[in-house]
Subunit: 188 residues, 2 copies
């Protein structure tokens, strides 16, 4: 992906995380990133639908890489939380997860649009479950715990943004660390 294009996709992801899909458009993206409108349309001839799909894929890939590269379930949890903390802090607590924003608005792309949050969340869930299984936790328990990790971090990011405070994310991160550590400690 070219640098200019990549910058625009990243900008679209942040924009969706800040304002949702409804307020996102090729025109708004050009304004947001300071790119010429013509080049923005050139990169995204499919308009909003293409923009949203590529932004979700971009975020999803980054999270997947970070989960795959973790050495343990606790490392994966810490990296996942840290990634959202960076987004919150770099936007003054004005953005939350773009995939969650898309999920909350679907069918934002019209009734015929392919849901783009479904496969992204499903992949994150499987990767979190895989880090738990690698630490010896049984598949069934890992599957349930991975939903808890994903749901509570995603929820906490929205709450921290809504309250303009790290408190919800801090509370959830501390809870999940102790739950994951206890589950790993129980492994025979």
């Amino acid at each position: 992906m070219g640098d200019a294009r990549s910058t625009m996709v990243a900008g679209a992801a942040t924009m969706i995380g800040m304002r949702g899909v409804g307020a996102t458009s090729v025109r708004e993206l050009a304004k947001h990133t300071g790119a010429p409108l013509g080049s923005t349309y050139h990169y995204f001839p499919g308009g909003k639908e293409q923009l949203v799909a590529e932004a979700v894929a971009w975020v999803s890939d980054r999270i997947e890489t970070l989960l795959r590269e973790s050495d343990s379930a606790l490392d994966a949890l810490d990296a996942f939380v840290a990634s959202w903390r960076r987004l919150l802090e770099s936007t003054g607590y004005h953005a939350s997860c773009p995939v969650l924003a898309v999920a909350a608005e679907e069918p934002a792309l019209g009734d015929d649009g392919e849901p783009v949050s479904t496969p992204a969340f499903a992949r994150w869930h499987r990767l979190i479950a895989a880090t738990l299984e690698k630490d010896g936790i049984a598949a069934d328990e890992a599957r349930g715990l991975a939903w808890t990790v994903l749901a509570s971090v995603e929820g906490a990011v929205v709450l921290s943004r809504s309250q303009r405070s790290a408190e919800p994310l801090d509370a959830v991160a501390a809870h999940l660390r102790s739950v994951v550590a206890a589950a790993v400690a129980r492994v025979p």
Copy 2:
């Protein structure tokens, strides 16, 4: 609140939970509820901003009542989860919490709009913490645990909607039940 007006506010809440703030308007609400456009504008002269504020207040009041009327922290948790489960089931897993949708899109009402998710989530958090304290849990622990309960249920509702499956909500509800029960059991 008159019956017709109340039905429209409830309809607006469901609509926001299904399509987000971006796709919500007085015109769309009239279509969605089958009410005449004129009477819809009559009830909501403030347009989308009024619609969203009243829908959030309506949802918020219902959740607050349900939390206040619970006899114990576990009862409150069960009632909170059951309320979102009903929304998911009654919409074929096509809606999530309207307050979360608003939070994910703010400033959906423009940069000058008053954030409406902030006080709603703050009140839910305080009421959940109060149910935990009433069961004997210390204020500090109750505060942290209440963020975990709120974040993980809100996150699970979006995930269940995104996956069109009760699995994320079921997993989170089971986890929270055991965590809350254990916290209450530790009370001296």
